[in-house]
Symmetry: C2
Subunit: 448 residues, 2 copies
């Protein structure tokens, strides 16, 4: 374990808690994997005389961003098919590609590509939702990145599991194997109300309680989902989840684009967390999550990119900005989701949803040293009238220069430290050739 004491000396620190605060002339002191202190630079010499000093001129330090909803391995499908109706996109392109390819090698290459992209863009933790979570977890651990991996449950056979029992036994095995891992935890990841039956949901309810892990579920993504629920279960998806005792503060509800005011009131009372994916919702024309109205009711909203097949980036800076802009446009209120709220949604709110807010999400003494440095002293973010405004409305992910997770430098001066960028690029190109062949074959078959 690294027991050096390192003092990072940026121009600004945005600790996230208290919300909206910007500290000037402060130091962030790291000791091994944790944050020892945030203190004025002039007090550094007396308090931490032994600290190794790392000047970071022109830069702001903030906690690493948390991608609240990702399908990392789908990075390999980025741009395979776009601008299509949902079912043609899924049936003609995404599913055939996945059926042909999904397995440990694919998940390893895709997750590694996604982790490289996320780290370079200042994301230090992701809440993943894909098959072979054991492989995703191993990939994150090797990279030194923090993750919550979903234990997938879906009512159909896939390369990961065939029967309901097998989904649970494999998932519980992954959970067991990760118990001693400091960086990776688990969540149940039932796919969606229309693909998971009551019996599976009941087992999830019990086991999530027992293992004390969240339940990560696509919910109210489209209007059709509500119709389907009425047909299949004679009730609204929220009523069904409520009956199954799953509509509670353990629930991480992804998308939520189809909300009536009474649904939002229920969400607030139940204490569920909403994982908002604005780019994906717009791109697939699913609908728009009424974030301003949720925030007004006190619902905890976090931001995720969704998979790169429907975004097509894993860029949390872009997603934060879009969340702030869209909330204003949709609510008609330019004061909705101000910059400091958008930044909280991408950090501390997500940590809270994942049950990790004692460890990450803000820069405070005692927390894990998940930290990023962002260079603001550049043409595109000058002048710096307001640091938090610049971070949300003007900063691009390319301005991230350094990234630490649990005190370990994973990106230094814009370069990956634990991953081999050249090999990841080569692997992506190899999978590109294979996926294109599959996509073409399927397209040919589809022509009558």
């Amino acid at each position: 374990m690294d027991t050096r004491v390192v003092a990072l000396l940026p121009d600004w620190i945005v600790p996230i808690h208290p919300r909206g605060e910007v500290l000037k002339h402060h130091a962030l002191v790291l000791h091994g994997e944790t944050i020892s202190a945030v203190l004025p630079q002039e007090k550094l010499a007396e308090t931490f005389p032994e600290a190794e000093r790392k000047p970071l001129p022109g830069r702001v330090l903030l906690p690493g961003l948390i991608n609240a909803h990702a399908h990392s391995a789908m990075a390999l499908l980025r741009g395979l098919a776009d601008d299509l109706p949902l079912m043609r996109w899924l049936e003609d392109h995404i599913w055939p590609a996945e059926q042909a390819c999904v397995g440990p090698d694919y998940v390893r290459a895709g997750t590694e590509l996604a982790i490289a992209e996320m780290l370079l863009g200042g994301t230090t933790c992701f809440n993943d939702n894909y098959f072979f979570p054991d492989v995703a977890a191993g990939t994150a651990i090797r990279a030194g990145m923090r993750a919550v991996v979903g234990l997938p449950i879906i009512g159909m056979p896939t390369a990961w599991a065939t029967t309901e029992d097998e989904y649970f036994s494999r998932g519980l095995g992954v959970h067991q194997d990760l118990l001693s891992e400091p960086l990776v935890t688990t969540a149940f990841a039932p796919h969606a109300p229309y693909t998971v039956g009551d019996s599976a949901f009941r087992r999830i309810r019990e086991l999530a309680e027992e293992l004390d892990i969240p339940v990560h579920l696509h919910l109210l993504e489209t209007a059709e989902e509500i119709d389907t629920s009425h047909q299949q279960h004679r009730c609204h998806p929220i009523d069904r989840l409520d009956r199954l005792d799953l509509f509670n503060d353990r629930l991480l509800a992804v998308h939520m684009t189809q909300l009536e005011p009474r649904d939002m009131d229920r969400a607030a009372r139940a204490g569920i967390h909403v994982l908002h994916c604005p780019a994906s919702n717009l791109k697939l024309a699913s609908g728009m999550c009424p974030v301003a109205a949720l925030v007004e009711r006190g619902v905890n909203v976090c931001i995720g990119t969704d998979g790169a097949a429907s975004n097509n980036t894993l860029d949390m800076f872009a997603e934060m900005r879009l969340a702030a802009l869209l909330a204003k446009g949709l609510s008609g209120n330019p004061e909705a989701v101000p910059a400091e709220d958008a930044l909280a949604m991408a950090t501390l709110n997500a940590a809270r949803a994942l049950g990790l807010d004692e460890q990450i999400g803000s820069l405070e003494a005692g927390k894990q040293a998940d930290v990023i440095a962002v260079e603001l002293d550049r043409i595109e973010t000058l002048p710096v009238h307001h640091v938090i405004s610049q971070l949300v409305y003007a900063t691009g992910r390319h301005q991230v220069t350094d990234v630490w997770v649990a005190g370990q430098p994973l990106v230094s001066d814009g370069q990956l430290q634990t991953l081999d960028a050249a090999r990841i690029r080569a692997d992506a190109s190899a999978w590109q050739r294979r996926l294109e062949t599959i996509d073409r074959q399927h397209a040919n078959k589809s022509v009558p």
Copy 2:
């Protein structure tokens, strides 16, 4: 004049015309300021044996992006005030800052900062709308950038002019001075229907015809604007412009967030051009331009960033992506504004609106060599299943490596060639201090 023949050898060329085309293994041959040819690389040796070859591995060439609506000098106000209702934002922050600062020095520093930002991000031409267009034009010319500068007309005294006559005489002087400039042309820039009277609009109508230049007008930005028009002029703004014979194919209508179907039909019949600024419209909660419905009717839609005070970037890659995403979300149709259409809105459509489509907007023999190289062989845009999809949905402006305007390299390997980045940064910081003092003084005065 540079008369070398240079052959650029990228992995891909996206010529924009024909729409959606991606050429592999082609060369783009530049001769001085123009494009000589786009041809297969294997034919280069026989056709242009003298050409100097510049390999651009992993890169795609496309025409430089055209920012259809900018207030360049406002780059100095980036992030000065955000997340506020429009009138508090204007009255308490933007206008006091402008009243105290606007003049040739301010416009020079602001426009230079904006030009540096735009060039680094792949924008080679901007349609500007601000005071002191002579200074903006001079700044563009010194940088080697292409621009259309607006000749401002507004029914109130400003630092630029005091009376209606003075606005016209100064504007016509600027137009006259620029007649022999190859890179900079002019447009009339009446501010908005609620700030410009009928007599000024009539003079604009006559002079625009005589000088053969466009009319660049903020139109239907907010719902209030329509109410105000009914109060001031007893009619809808479109009816008024139509009566004044200004609702025609010379009109560049910025924003257009308040459109009924019959307004869109009229827009299509009249052949007006719509300059769509999605980020600014969302951020100020003005409304959303129904782009999909306009395109369906055949209206020419272009994309602009608006000023950095309300965006807060001049990033045309981000704006293109947002335009494509928002059109789908707003129309509920995932096929609306596909990637190739969004790219056309940021290139050839804008050239057409500005009357420059004989010269720029696509990579075709005989056109001006306004070209950008974008590096796709990077973690964040791999795999490259579809080049145009990557450009619109995944590429960040930091991936622009080289920029030419009229054949002159303005950015090479990510570095500005005609502008002094260090001095621009220093100027921006100096203005930051001055603007913050003004903003604080005004805020103190505003407190009762």
